[in-house]
């Protein structure tokens, strides 16, 4: 624990923990809404803001933040035009963001040198503005996910039934997109454009597979995210490897092991169930009868 004596490592653990909680929760919803690539797209769009900010002398982190939020709003707008092919909206906005970023980068030669820090992240060099922004997003995101957990569940399951059940689908989707932009933009300077989606996708992918209930999927996703971030940071410190890449690699290993154990467990469990069913002539899996109106419950 010697590493925690260093101020920069304390900040890295603090920032990493906040991102892990936010990104892992967001990931569960994004995956169920089939928008797992949205984080990837927004991080690329945010890059355009970073480039523009640096070019005009505005704080690049804040510029990236604002651009990601605008990108999230734009993707929602385009998504409504391509209802059946919502991934097209992701592709269109990503092309726009990346092309603007590349053009702006080419206008300022000094910019490209600091660009690698945005591509790969600098969790051990988190500055005050980034930490403050992250703390603000963590509070806003935490409140959003807690207060709207019920309508978000309905929205994740099916938009049409959510709408008829009284969920203000358009407003909630819009707010969700803005929050996604905020989380991605706040996480990007720390884990980097290329790795931000690993924190959003991998914990959620494993948690959704392992959990029986929705609440547990979120709890497990956060636990996996925190384990990945803290283990990755420790390994990065010990092995002197880039923190962003190490965190992503640790998360990938956790996903591989978790998926392997789950498959093995299912295979073993299936055999046991088949045996039990054979013994009980299949009655264990049979549903009950409908109750007639006059029958007592």
């Amino acid at each position: 624990m010697e590493m925690l004596h260093y101020d920069f490592m304390q900040r890295a653990f603090c920032a990493g923990g906040m991102i892990a909680i936010l990104a892992s929760t967001l990931g569960v919803y994004l995956m169920l809404r089939r928008q797992a690539l949205m984080a990837d797209m927004l991080s690329h769009v945010s890059l355009a803001g970073v480039a523009a900010g640096a070019l005009i002398g505005f704080n690049p982190t804040l510029a990236g933040f604002i651009t990601a939020v605008l990108g999230a709003m734009a993707v929602e707008y385009v998504r409504r035009s391509y209802k059946s092919y919502s991934e097209i909206s992701v592709a269109i906005i990503m092309i726009g963001g990346m092309s603007i970023a590349v053009v702006l980068m080419s206008l300022d030669k000094h910019l490209t040198r600091s660009f690698s820090s945005y591509l790969f992240g600098t969790v051990v060099a988190v500055n005050g503005t980034e930490l403050l922004l992250l703390a603000f997003v963590t509070v806003a995101g935490g409140l959003f996910f807690f207060l709207f957990r019920r309508p978000l569940y309905l929205l994740a399951f099916d938009e049409e039934t959510a709408r008829t059940a009284g969920v203000p689908v358009d407003r909630l989707t819009f707010a969700f997109s803005i929050l996604t932009g905020m989380i991605v933009a706040a996480a990007m300077p720390i884990v980097g454009v290329l790795l931000v989606s690993s924190l959003i996708v991998l914990p959620a992918a494993l948690a959704n597979r392992l959990s029986r209930s929705f609440t547990w999927a979120i709890v497990l996703s956060i636990a996996i995210g925190l384990t990945g971030v803290f283990t990755g940071l420790t390994a990065s410190y010990q092995l002197s490897t880039p923190p962003g890449g190490t965190i992503a690699l640790v998360l990938l290993v956790i996903w591989l092991i978790g998926t392997g154990i789950h498959r093995g467990w299912r295979h073993f469990g299936k055999k046991k169930t088949e045996q039990a069913q054979a013994n009980m002539q299949g009655s264990a899996n049979a549903e009950g009868s409908w109750l007639a109106p006059e029958q007592p419950l």
Partner: protein, 235 residues
């Protein structure tokens, strides 16, 4: 009192109109079947009534209030809802409980009454013993039952059911019809159901609304047939 009315509604996909000058009205306390051949825009008509689609022309009016003054609760079961993402991480009980969210309030703590309604819904459809199962692990017919249990737990005033009996055996279908009949008779609910199995249900219905083909290719509402119901509609 009319729950929903459609007047001269025109709607289509792309540039081609499919529903042309469709008009109908569903009254409070009726048990109505909407029928027609495949592709007759039955599901589209339901979505138009619920405001999920906007008509090209004509008017659709869905009342927002129950005659008692409170907000009208709608229980909608879309076509193929049981074919949901099998990876959705939710237990059967959690899923059915989500039907209570609107009634209990988005932010308020769920009450014992909500849990009781969930149990009641699941027991009605014979799925109580499956409450701890993950919904993705169920068969198609079981998922359909769970979706119906969620709608029952919701205690809607207006059931809008798009081919709800898909994947059910005959006994289950008969039980389902009795259940809906009970909702109309005892709770004064309104039931609008898209179905092809008219012969099985005809005697229980107040009306059948049929979508028929026009000479220009579009579909129109509606031949309305009065049925001899087994009960007097409430309301």
């Amino acid at each position: 009192m009319e729950i929903v009315t459609m007047k001269d509604v025109v709607f289509g996909y792309g540039d081609v109109p499919s529903l042309v000058n469709a008009s109908l009205a569903i009254r409070q306390g009726e048990f109505v079947a909407l029928t027609g051949p495949n592709g007759a825009s039955k599901s589209t008509a339901l979505k138009l009534m619920l405001g999920l689609l906007k008509p090209w022309g004509g008017t659709v009016q869905l009342t927002e209030r129950h005659p008692e003054g409170r907000a009208l609760e709608i229980g909608y079961v879309p076509q193929q809802i049981a074919a949901f993402n099998s990876g959705f991480p939710s237990t059967v009980e959690e899923f059915v409980l989500s039907g209570r969210y609107h009634r209990s309030g988005w932010l308020k703590k769920l009450k014992p009454e909500d849990r009781r309604k969930v149990e009641e819904g699941l027991r009605r459809v014979g799925m109580w013993d499956f409450r701890d199962r993950r919904i993705g692990e169920l068969s198609g017919g079981q998922k359909q039952r769970v979706c119906i249990a969620r709608t029952l737990a919701q205690e809607p005033d207006f059931f809008v059911l798009d081919e709800p009996i898909t994947g059910m055996d005959k006994d289950s279908r008969m039980s389902f019809y009795s259940l809906m009949e009970e909702q109309v008779r005892d709770r004064g609910c309104t039931v609008l159901m898209v179905t092809h199995n008219l012969e099985e249900i005809r005697g229980r219905l107040d009306r059948i609304i049929e979508l028929t083909k026009r000479e220009d290719g579009g579909w129109k509402c509606c031949t309305t047939t009065s049925c001899k119901g087994h009960f007097a509609p409430a309301g």
